[in-house]
Amino acid sequence: MGKIKIFLADDHLILREGIRSLLQKLPDIEVVGEATDGETAVNEVSRIIPDVVLMDITMPKLNGLEATRQIKEKHPQVKVLILTMHETGQYLSEMLQAGASGYVVKTTTSADLISAIRAVYHGDVYLYPSIARMLVEDYLSQVKTGEEKTSYEGLTGREREILAYIAEDKKNKEIADTLGISVRTVQAHRTNLMDKLGAHDRTELVKYAIRKGIINL
C-alpha cells in the first residue's frame, strides 16, 4: 500500500514544521507539500494531487472555506481535513457543505490527529468530540423538522382545520357547531391528529401548531 500523501495549508510556519516532524515518524504517512495561503493551496493541490489536505480556516488571500470548495470542485477525490483553532464549530455546517471530510481543533493530541487523517483517507468522517456535539444537536433538530413536515403533509384537510381550532382553544362542541358536524366526529378527528402527530395531550398539539406557524401568539 502506498503512503498517505498529506498537504499542509496553514499560515503559521511553526505549526507546519511541527506537524511535518510529527507525521514524518509514521510509516504510512508522508507530507508532500505546503502552502501558506489559500490561493497557493488550491494551485499546489491541483499540481500535486495529495490524498489529504490539512486545511486551516483563517488564511490570507483565500480562506480555508473557499479553498476547500474550490479544491473539492476540481478534485473531488482529494479529502480535506479542517485543522483549526476555532473550537466553537461556527463554520462546521459551511465546511461540511463545502466538502470537508473532517474537523479537528489545534488542541487535539497527535494520536487523534493521526486517527483523523486515516479516517478521512478511508472515506470516513472525523469530527473532534467538542464539535461532534454541535452536529448531533443540529442533526436531531433537523430530523425532527423533517418528520414534522412529513407528518403535517399526512394530515387531511379537515384534520388541519380542526388542529387550528384546537390551537385556538375552541371546545369540541364549538368546533362541531362551526363545521356542522357531530361532537363525536370532532372527537374522532382529534384522536387521529394525536396519533399522527405523536401528541399525548392538547398542550402538545398546541405546541406543534405554534411551531408549524398554524397559529400566532
Binding site: 455546517s93 461540511l96 457543505q97 473532517g102 493530541t109 494520536a111 487523534d112 486517527s115 483523523a116 479516517a119 478521512v120 478511508h122 472515506g123 470516513d124 468522517v125 472525523y126 469530527l127 468530540p129 467538542s130 461532534a132 456535539r133 452536529l135 448531533v136 443540529d138 442533526y139 436531531l140 433537523q142 430530523v143 423538522t145 423533517g146
Partner: protein, 153 residues
Amino acid sequence: MAKIKILVAEEHTLCCEAICALLRNNENIDVIDQAYNGKEVLEKVSKQLPDVVLMDSAMPIMNGVEVTHQLRKRNITSRVLLITIYENKEVILAALRAGVNGFISKNATGSDLVSAIFAVSRGDFFLYPSVAKIMVRDYLQDLKKTMRPDHLS
C-alpha cells in the same frame, strides 16, 4: 485528576475481559464493574453510578439503546458510549434519541477507545468516523432538501 469510573457491558466474556484489560493499562481509568446483559447493566449502573458506561449495542434481554433509554428515564446521567457493529441511520437516530453520548466501533484502536472515553466523560460527544460519515451524509441531504430553490422568492 480523579480517575474515570467505568462499567463495561458486553455479552461475550472474552471480549469483555479483553476490553477491561486494555482499559486497566490506563492510569486515568478505573474499571469498577462488568455486566453481561441489559438487565444486569441497568441494575449495576443504577446502583454504582459510574462516570461512563461502555456498552455493546447488542446484548441479551435488553439491548444497549433500550438500557440507555431506561437509564435516562431514571434520571441517571452516567455517560453512555455505545459499541456498534451494524451502523445505519435508524440505529444511530434511535440511540441519539435514547440519550447516548457517543459511538465507538469494535474496529477502533485502543487509543481511539481511550480518546472516546475521555471525550464523553468531559461532556463532549464522540462519533466514530464510520458513524460520523452516515450522519453527515444524511445531514447534508436534509440541508439540501430544506434549501430547494423553490423556497426562494
